[in-house]
């Protein structure tokens, strides 16, 4: 895979309705995003694509987290 700009957000959420709303909100603002409905899918993505922030909503909304990620080559 050729080198590309890091993705701004990876959003993990098993509620696809919520995922869709968040996607729409962020992409309209010009952010690059990836989505995953499971952590295993997220792991696959993190292993191959540089990601700046991880937004994990897969447990409870109250526990939603935004984690700054390492931007090095072996990120995440």
């Amino acid at each position: 895979m050729k080198k590309s700009q890091p993705i701004d957000f990876l959003i993990i959420d098993n509620n696809t309705n919520e995922l869709r709303k968040l996607r729409e909100l962020l992409v309209k603002e010009g952010y690059s995003i990836l989505t995953a409905t499971s952590r295993s899918t997220a792991r696959d993505l993190i292993g191959k694509i540089k990601i700046r922030y991880l937004l994990d909503k897969i447990e409870e909304d109250s526990e939603s987290t935004v984690d700054p990620m390492n931007q090095g080559d072996d990120a995440c």
């Binding site: 050729k2 590309s4 696809t16 996607r23 992409v27 309209k28 603002e29 696959d44 694509i49």
Partner: protein, 575 residues
């Protein structure tokens, strides 16, 4: 027997019935007169005499019926004529809506063979020298193909040389054909052949044959075939015209795009839509000038790529292209970034630094998200544009600069002016020329090319992925609020997660698929007419993808080919 059924019985048959009844009565009478031989003899003479009269009458009626068909028979003939005319009319409509020549010929032959109850048929298309170019056959047995073809070839050539319809009732009696293998081995009896001619142009011929001696083609059959041939000719002419038009239109935009791309280098701006063509055409024109540009468009539409392309195609291309995102830098920092500063201008300014405007000397400065710029800075920028002079922060020296300004925004600047959030005078200074980049949902015809481009970008060298037609449909139907950037991210995600080379609907982000199933991806806020336009475009594109030919797509949409091409043009879909 009903009255109408009785009417249909020929008179000769009725006489048979009368004779039968009369004979029965005579036998009864003979039984009563058996004791009176003289009376019996007289009755017998009367019976023979009456019988003779009826037989004579019957013979006359048989001749009359043969020479003059009954009214019912005439009605039957008229009804048959009407039915044939209806077939001719409906097939004529079909021919006008059939865009592909081969299908048109197949349908025509199928109809005419069934209609005229022929055993087999051909339609041949010829070149200028009357050589056969294209042959469509019906009911042709492969085992006898050669000899039959040889014979029919002779008949067709005969018709083409004379440029007149030909009809042979019994080929065995025709000197030219009697000894031919197919006439003998296949028992071919009757043939008709009509040249397909329009003015002085010969397209070919339609040929039919029958093998039953008792049922040769009639003059009425030949007349029907002549009328039918005219329909075929009309269909061929329109098919050729449409094909020419299609090629011209397709090559027209393709050629224009190619020429434009040669004169305006824009390799990273992917697409083939008419909207993109218009944007690049204007960009090519303005790239040669020094006028300030304002690029409008939603996030992810490629405003920065366009600005860069305009710079690279301008006389300033050897000078710097400096891009600065006015929304990404805090207002205080933006001022020092743009204008530079002298040492000691503020705390931490240990040494002098040139601003971006200065660094762009001789080249182009790209002010992205110009709508985010503070009012204070807007005033300073206006002065720079008017005077072409800058002052570094903390300096009283003015410096002359020669910079071209390209600005971009996704905001509605006129609304911001009304709300006093953006300076009107600056707005008019920045937008000497305004270029609007369409959102991706308005140029869905570019999605396929963009997907290919991103797949090429992100696929591993040894593994080329591809999207199934169904997955591509989903991508085309989705609204893409994040435009090309969002599409790029989705393609990248699919390639990373793909378990096989084929990327199907299940491999797409689920929230995109759900949008598709729940609602049509048409943005809110459109007028009914605009929404209808969007829907029609989406639906036509979907149909085009589903079918392998435009002809099939047109048929599925229930429109004829002329209408279909008008539709493609109206919806800005490349042919």
């Amino acid at each position: 027997m009903t009255q109408s059924q009785t009417d249909k019985v020929p008179v000769s048959k009725k006489i048979d019935e009368i004779i039968s009844a009369f004979t029965k009565d005579f036998l009864e009478l003979a039984n009563h007169t058996k004791n009176d031989p003289a009376l019996a003899s007289r009755v017998q003479k009367v019976f023979i005499s009456i019988l003779g009269y009826f037989r004579g009458l019957q013979a006359d009626f048989v001749i009359m019926e043969k020479n003059h068909p009954s009214e019912n028979r005439q009605l039957e003939i008229l009804l048959e004529e009407k039915r044939r005319l209806e077939t001719l009319y409906t097939t004529g409509i079909y021919f006008l809506s059939e865009m592909e020549m081969k299908k048109l010929l197949e349908k025509a032959l199928d109809t005419v063979v069934n209609e005229l109850k022929a055993d087999e048929g051909f339609i041949v298309l010829t070149d200028d020298q009357l050589n056969f170019e294209n042959i469509v056959t019906k009911n042709m047995d492969d085992n006898v193909h050669h000899s039959a073809k040889e014979m029919s070839t002779s008949v067709i050539k005969n018709a083409l040389q004379r440029l007149k319809p030909v009809k042979f009732d019994d080929l065995k009696t025709e000197n030219d054909f009697a000894q031919q293998n197919s006439v003998i081995s296949l028992g071919l009896k009757s043939t008709i052949c009509v040249p397909l001619i329009s003015g002085k142009v010969v397209f070919g011929a339609v040929y039919l044959d029958r093998r039953q001696k008792e049922n040769p083609f009639t003059e009425s059959d030949l007349k029907y075939l002549i009328s039918f041939a005219k329909q075929i000719v009309k269909g061929i002419e329109i098919s050729e015209e449409i094909q020419t038009l299609e090629n011209e239109l397709q090559s027209d935009l393709t050629v224009k795009f190619k020429e434009l791309r040669n004169s305006f280098f824009s390799g990273d701006i992917i697409g083939r839509s008419r909207k993109l063509y218009e944007v690049l055409r204007v960009s090519e024109k303005v790239s040669k000038t020094n006028v300030n540009l304002l690029i409008l468009g939603e996030n992810g539409t490629g405003k920065d790529l366009l600005a860069q392309a305009i710079h690279l195609n301008s006389p300033r291309k050897s000078k710097p292209f400096i891009a600065i995102n006015c929304g990404a830098i805090p207002a205080d920092l933006l001022e020092s970034e743009l204008f530079g500063y002298e040492s000691g201008a503020f705390t931490g300014a240990t040494k002098s630094k040139p601003g971006r405007l200065e660094l762009a000397e001789g080249g182009t400065i790209f002010l992205d998200e110009i709508g985010e710029m503070s009012q204070n800075l807007q005033a300073k920028l206006l002065r720079v544009i008017q005077t072409h002079e800058i002052e570094r922060l903390g300096s009283t020296n003015t410096r002359k600069i020669d910079v071209r300004f390209i600005s971009a925004t996704n905001k509605n600047l006129t609304e911001m002016i009304e709300n006093r959030e953006f300076r009107e005078d600056l707005y008019y200074r920045l937008k000497v020329i305004e270029i609007k980049l369409s959102p991706l949902r308005e140029r869905k015809e570019d999605i396929e090319l963009l997907v290919e481009y991103f797949m090429e970008k992100y696929s591993l060298d040894d593994e080329q992925h591809f999207f199934t037609a169904e997955a591509m449909n989903v991508l085309e139907e989705y609204g893409w609020p994040g435009n090309i950037r969002e599409l790029e991210n989705v393609v990248q995600r699919c390639i990373v997660l793909a378990k096989a080379k084929e990327i199907d609907v299940d491999d797409l982000p689920p929230e995109i698929i759900e949008v598709r199933s729940e609602e049509v991806a048409i943005k809110p806020g459109l007028t009914l007419q605009e929404a209808e336009h969007e829907f029609r475009k989406m639906y036509v594109l979907k149909t085009l993808r589903k079918f392998s030919t435009k002809s099939e797509a047109a048929k599925a949409l229930g429109v004829n080919r002329t209408h279909f091409y008008k539709l493609l043009s109206q919806l800005d879909i490349p042919y």
